[in-house]
Amino acid sequence: FAQTVTKWRKRNLSWRVRTFPKESHLGHDTVRALMYYALKVWSDITPLNFHEVAGNNADIQIDFSKADHNDGYPFDGPGGTVAHAFFPGDHHTAGDTHFDDDEYWTFRSSDTHGMDLFAVAVHEFGHAIGLTHISAIESIMRPYYQGPVGDPLKYDLPYEDKVRIWQLYGVRESVSPTAKPEVSKTDDHPILPELPENRSTVPLRRDVPDRCNTHFDAVAQIRGEAFFFKGKYFWRLTRNKHLVSLQPAQIHRFWRGLPLNLDSLDAVYERTSDHKIVFFKGDRYWVFKDNNVEEGYPRPISDFGLPLGGIDAAFSWAHNDKTYFFKDNLYWRYDDQERRMDPGYPLVAVLWKGIPSPLDDAMRWSDGASYFFKGKEYWKVLDSELEVQPGYPQSIARDWLVCS
């Protein structure tokens, strides 16, 4: 039981759900989303940054285990001990977090027999970053399970816990600074977590656009999922084109580091070279790794060899992995591997016969086709073809945003 106060020396910590609950009604994506939001509770107020990874080298390995699982803290079936996490340190289990798979894990459930996974995860991640138990009745670090703590998107740590974690890591100065990750592996592409389903408890804001009756500022495929951006919001579709929620998420709450006063985006795309995500607005752009902006951004779009004045659209063509930028009736071709604009551009945008100009945005999709968006309509061009498919344009709202 010997334990002195320890903390992480680095500020960028990776995480991964290695094993999921076996018989829970909670889907993998919901579990990942709850872990994401439980970590975010801590990173929102400290200089810590968490990013999900797919590989085996995550700082915080998350497992759902039963009984004796060879770490000296055997679980004891339903009730009793429900979870634990290892404090920071040099040992290989530091940060690892284990949940008892014999518990009935729930999310937004009125079932009093269930264990609210988000509430327990916030507590355990407190340990994973160095907090011990305390007796304060309001604290999330009280050792006893105290029931659900409400909406993960709105949860605010008790003051007692804020003070203790600030004593370890200091205060987060702003939402923008994010140091470059210390470890970066090409085969370790992080996956963005799902937003939790059932967002019905989130009240509609007055400036929320109507997804069925709007033209979008930007559209992008990111890690296989489609993102439709409008104003300060975005909608998200899974790989199988299911809308994650009818209600949009707020851009600045999900993509940490964009200016809070950003009222819209021009274009977004995922770089094929390193899977980082690039956001454009006016003469500036930002590069994100996962949900966090990289250090040193925004930068001017002249870095790409683009003229000032902004762009309308950006996408990577599956046919040649080159990135295409559009502005009015012009387009440029950029080599993301070489990090330079191909010579001879801009050209008048007639490469894909039938697409309109100016575009709102474009993206490649998992079916290999390219999709071009303007107003309330979209056009489809098959993989290596240079002409719009017959029957287009079609309705964005109907085909992508689940509108009748």
């Binding site: 039981f1 518990e103 006893y144």
Partner: protein
């Protein structure tokens, strides 16, 4: 107060040891904790849990011991030692 059953005392001692309130029995001599140590441990546990600190394994204390919780101990070795 009613005297706790022997089974409750055994379970209570296990619980208090598991969560850092009582040092484990001496592995060489096998000597168990004294009644005084046990009372102090129960008192500490009650204070930490927000209960009235009676030092007795009463119903509320046993109930709190049955509450689902994190596996990690509440007190560090240093704190346990200091309390002793």
């Amino acid at each position: 107060a009613p005297t706790p059953a022997e089974e409750d005392i055994t379970r209570g001692v296990d619980w208090l040891t598991k969560f850092g309130y009582l040092p484990p029995p001496d592995p060489v001599t096998g000597q168990l904790q004294t009644q005084e140590e046990l009372t102090k441990a129960i008192t500490a546990m009650q204070r930490f849990g927000g209960l009235e600190a009676t030092g007795v394994l009463d119903e509320a204390t046993l109930e709190l011991m049955k509450t689902p919780r994190c596996s990690l101990p509440d007190l560090t070795t240093e704190e346990t030692r200091r309390k002793r």
